[in-house]
Symmetry: C2
Subunit: 208 residues, 2 copies
DNA sequence: TAGATTGTTAATCGATTAACAATC
DNA sequence: TAGATTGTTAATCGATTAACAATC
């Protein structure tokens, strides 16, 4: 059972592929060539074919790739053919914004509850429960939760992550500006500030 | 005047360096070696020195790097020794969240106004103005704005970006899930969804 | 001074691009 | 069938790591 490790360079491109293919499907495009894909993505046809070959290849010689099939495959690879239950830990500005956003349901990401030290400060839609952070372990024992979103101040982000891990949650989406790295838990760090700083870097170095 | 192009691999690491050095400065650490930095960042000392040498090198042989100086340098390179005026275009959930967040002021990023088609829906702190999107050109003619944040629905993100460019704003921080690429404007695309999808990929491929 | 650690040059590794036989 | 386009192998390019003389 050799699971050939796929490079992060490739993996990081997968969501962009999915976005493109979804668009094409909406437009009713039936099939595309690697060359067309590369032009739309701003890369090379070689890279597109090389990327796909990591997953065994999705195409037919002389025809190209079936758009619908590409969509299905990308979704399946990214795990988007499943649904996920989420909790938010930290009900401040960012936590509330995510809870109130409401755009995740239709992607199969269900935000079930928000945990905060001061529940009375937290305003979220009525279908989302709000509990004291103390209750996290109890709650996750009774409810299957796949992903925890950390929206705490950065000072407590790391200890929060450890608690989440102890609750048996296997994945963390971290919005605190404190890098989190923890064995046995999948973590994706967002770091909005870093993105903004890259922009100011560009502004000041004036190299388009 | 040869401006040697610095690779994006290096640039993408700069904000993480800054974060580390700020932490060290807070803790009162006076100086560090490339080896210590590499351990804290999870890279190699070689890479650290190689990265710094892109900017001429910051250290002294036998001593290492002065933490305070490193902070200053990183901030200066990233343009964080300046202040910026921002407007938000699109006053929906995300736009309001950013306007209400309030954490950017102390970094020197001043959110001055929010533009939306339906101003009466937009609730933001009183020091931030709210205008109809029509007024964007007028406003930017009278006020120096450095960065526009796009928080519109993805369907209108691209045309919004073009309007912003026509107003003479030189940088866009894009939160719409529509990739924006426009000549003559610096763009940083956020794509929160992609980050979430990378997490579900990890969950499903079970390779830590 | 001797020890430590830099900045830089050289070697290695990995990712991207090019080329092409296989085949729809 | 002939043309188009794949999947894959080989070549190139760039980024990371190792090594070391320079020097604080």
């Amino acid at each position: 059972m050799e699971k050939q490790k796929i490079s992060t360079a490739v993996i990081n491109r997968l969501p962009a592929y999915l976005r493109l293919f979804s668009e094409l499907e909406e437009k009713g495009v039936a099939h595309v060539s690697s060359n067309e894909i590369s032009e739309m993505m701003g890369t090379t046809a070689s890279q597109v074919r090389q990327d796909f070959s990591n997953f065994g290849g999705f195409g037919r010689q002389g025809y190209g790739y079936d758009v619908k099939y590409l969509c299905e495959q990308m979704q399946s690879i990214l795990g988007l053919d499943k649904t996920y239950n989420l909790v938010i830990v930290g009900g401040g500005k960012i936590g509330q914004a995510l809870a109130n956003y409401g755009g995740y349901d239709k992607l199969g990401f269900y935000i079930k509850a928000v945990f905060d030290k001061e529940v009375w400060h937290v305003r979220v839609p009525s279908h989302i429960d709000v509990f004291d952070t103390e209750k996290l372990a109890d709650y996750t024992a009774k409810n299957k939760i796949d992903i925890a979103i950390i929206c705490t101040p950065k000072e407590v982000a790391l200890e929060t992550a450890k608690k989440i891990k102890d609750c048996g949650i296997k994945a963390i989406w971290n919005f605190a500006s404190q890098e989190i790295k923890l064995d046995g838990v999948h973590v994706e760090n967002v770091h909005l500030n870093e993105s903004l700083f890259l922009l100011t870097y560009k502004i000041n170095s004036e190299q388009n």
